[in-house]
């Protein structure tokens, strides 16, 4: 008589557990959630009246970044020393992951980030186009060259990261001084580069290279003909070259400098034609809940102190007058290859597609 009802008990139990589990999650987490969203309103009003507003810098800001873990931690440390009332919540991941999360949040109608710092300017240009950014002309930004920041103040470069040529030093290769080595016979089958399809920084480089009269798409055809290997990201490229699987790699400078300092058998070369440079811009989100603190954070990153911190971590600072760390060139010494950011943004998908068709499916 009671057997069916008892069996069904187990199912009610199953449902009850899932419900309990859910509510437990909900209740235990809500206090944390309220702390993140509580400050906001009063400051929002006071800072909207342009000019360096004397708004109180306090509360919590949410910082999304693609910087390596330790660097982000050092930056937050430095900032909270200056502004102890501000608590910085960090989300760190790859540029691609950070942007995907941000876009998903935007799709769901609530961007949770206040400040964003990821690899390249076109990515920011795309966010600006979607009207997700809040313009802010930091007083500190005056010390930063105009071509490395957005004219409307939607984003500002924070450092200079050149993409360079890494060469394995154990293979007895003559150190080259030109990008053209990658299309030369001595590098046939021995080169590796990050894929623009998987790395934003690599997509930027592709856009810049193809817009130089000296290189253009012909250069990439040459790379293809020379059996250039396309790897997932900068990390994989560095590994290939440092590990001796490949001899030459196109890779971001600070990684090579760090590996070299640690003792890996790699050499860093700034080719004579110049190098594409990404600026790891910083920007404030339009719906930032704590704009006052967010602005203070941006100011700190661009300030002399913040820039010295970046140099101490092994990056070329973007602010005039601060020297580059050992092993890297300063902005004044680097010959920069560049292209129009708006154009790079608009044509990125087409560039990637063309690259995919050209290099893919050997």
């Amino acid at each position: 008589m009671n057997r069916v009802s008892l069996r069904n008990w187990t199912l009610s139990l199953f449902a009850a557990i899932s419900v309990i589990g859910l509510t437990a999650c909900g209740t235990s987490s809500s206090p944390q959630a309220t702390t993140t969203s509580s400050p906001a309103t009063p400051q929002t009003n006071s800072t909207q009246s342009a000019e360096p507003a004397p708004a109180k810098v306090e509360g919590t800001i949410s910082f999304y970044t693609s910087q390596p873990d330790e660097d982000a931690a050092a930056l937050i440390d430095g900032f909270t020393k200056k502004h102890p009332q501000v608590k910085v919540q960090l989300f760190r991941s790859g540029t691609e992951e950070v942007i995907s999360r941000l876009q998903a949040e935007a799709q769901a109608g609530q961007v949770k980030a206040d400040v964003l710092l990821v690899a390249d300017a076109p990515t920011f240009a795309s966010l600006k186009k979607q009207d997700l950014l809040m313009p802010y002309n930091s007083p500190e930004a005056e010390q930063i060259p105009a071509e490395l920041k957005d004219a409307d103040g939607a984003y500002t470069g924070t450092k200079v990261m050149a993409t360079v040529l890494a060469v394995n030093t154990q293979k007895g290769n003559k150190l080259p001084d030109s990008w053209k080595v990658l299309t030369a016979p001595e590098a046939a089958g021995k080169g590796v580069m990050p894929s623009p399809l998987y790395s934003g920084a690599a997509a930027y480089n592709l856009g810049v290279f193809t817009r130089q009269s000296e290189f253009g798409w012909e250069y990439f055809e040459g790379l293809k003909a020379n059996q250039m290997t396309v790897s997932k990201g900068n990390g994989a490229v560095l590994k290939s070259v440092a590990g001796g699987e490949k001899d030459y790699g196109i890779v971001v400078d600070y990684m090579v400098a760090r590996a070299k300092t640690e003792g890996s058998p790699v050499e860093l070369i700034y080719p004579s034609e110049g190098v594409p440079v990404i600026t790891e811009p910083i920007g404030i989100l339009k719906k930032a809940q704590n704009p006052a603190a967010a602005k203070a954070f941006v100011d700190y990153v661009l300030s002399e102190e913040g820039q010295k911190l970046a140099a101490g971590l092994g990056y070329t600072p973007i602010r005039k007058g601060i020297g580059a760390p050992e092993g890297l060139k300063s902005l004044e010494e680097i010959k920069v290859l560049s292209a129009d950011i708006a154009e790079l943004e608009a044509s990125r998908e087409a560039d990637k597609k063309k690259f995919g068709e050209m290099m893919g499916g050997n």
């Binding site: 199953f14 944390q32 309220t34 949040e105």
Partner: protein, 581 residues
Amino acid sequence: MATNWHTTVTERQAGGQRRNFTAPLSWEKAAGWLVLVPVAFFFVYPLWKLVILSVKTETGIGLGVFSEMLADVRTWSAVYHSLVAAVLSTVLALVIGVTLAWLCAYTDIRGKGAIHVMAMLPLLIPSYVMTLAWTQMAGPAGVLNRFASWLAGTPVELWNVYGLDGIIVVMGLSHYPLVYMLTLSVLYRIPKELEWAARSSGAASRSVLRQVTLPLALPGIASGGLLAFISGLDNFGIPAFLGIPAGIPVLSTLIYEQVIGFGPSAFGRAAVLSILLGVIALVGTGLQWLLLRKGRVDQTSAEDRSVRYALGKKRFLAEGAVGLFLFVTSFLPLLSMASTALIKAYGLPFLTENLTWKHFLFVLRDHAGTREAIANSLLLAGLTGVLCLIVGTLFAYWRIQRPSALGKMTEGAVSLPYALPGMVVGLAMILTWMEPIPGWQPGIYGTVWMILIAYVTRFLILQVKSSTVSILQVGREVEEAARISGGHLWTRWSRVLLPLYAPGMLTGLFLVMLTAFTELTISSLLWSSGSQTIGVVIFGFEQAGSTTLSSALSTLIVTAILILLAVGGIWKRYWQRRMEG
């Protein structure tokens, strides 16, 4: 959904007339809803959010993104590669997993404990490490090809791991433990008398295997095969490493490509591809049901770990083969990871003057995030394991005791989050849990609980399939008998069913906890201050180019798990002995 639900009720009315007299139908109905509603909310709803994205266009709703993606050659090339890689790697995983399980369960091969632990390694070692180890072994400049060239005196390329064949091999070798684990627990339960009966009736060993053992073991083999198949579909690390340089897109890498693209339709394009991937996964689940229908469920037998086949002279051969296999596929990758962690700087030769402990010290002592991450991952793995254990086992029980179309559909839904790439599941979670119901924000987003929900959603199928294997093997008569003897619900479960279900349940718990403990993709998308996991830390090191540090942390984690596994194995044996005794 509603119509199917009705048909299942009527089916049951026709089939189980007895039940009609004993209980009101509403109980059955309530039970169905109690499964359906949570499944719909936790599993179908997030996927629905993705489907919506795929039809969203700038002007409103339309199939523009669909037609654009379906017209793209690369899409179909990725579908083809995904299918080939998933199917062939599953075949490989099945062959290796079943063979190894048979050897361990039935023969007098020695060192079973060690084999068992070594066979777990491919599940533990992060797939990028596994892949890297394979490129060192079989890449163009790898050990294999250099050795071949040295032998031949001229440059020879024996086998290059970059390419579709490499993806298949590495995937198969990474996923065979799933088949092995699920098959092993089934084999122990097949009554040895059945095989004896077949043999004494004159059947040769081979036909005993084909006609008795394998059909009886089908629940385990098919479930393990399904898990290997959907693991192959969602895997990103292996094709990213081995496929991108060879210009071979698979669905998971193509989805990633689309997700990170610019413009409003980026997610839509990824959603279309995810739907394609989901369809393939569901077809796989369907095939598995067909297989299971052919399987036979016989009388329950207690676990029997006695030796059934003496290998005789072939024992050395078998031990040598298994030993060599595990050495190459499990031990060498671990060794290559550990040696990377010990070297001062990546790329230096492995010489005494280049060795150092500093990376281990750094991640353990100096890196602030590591300990917090270990604590978080332990918490997440524990909670995920327990939640999945309870929910997954009850679900499997309902699914088998009340076979219905609804049951199949819900199982398909539960398997999808495991088949889709972690990136997609993570994004679906963001879209869903920020505001699950318009106007209701539970405040889960951005906390560790968000990751917990994502994990339970993603890994539940591992527990469901593992529990299913044991439940399928326990005939209904057992429960009936217990009921007739007057056992109440609690007694029935605690004294009769749970001990019988325990092997499968524990296998599932192990799989879920291990996978959750080392999970990387979802947490790297969903974590925030205070909730970083081990995966997030490893991913961070890797991205900063600090391979030595990520290897050090991975090595520490894998070693710790190996020790726990050994301890757990002893405990499991003790517990089972107590239950049987």
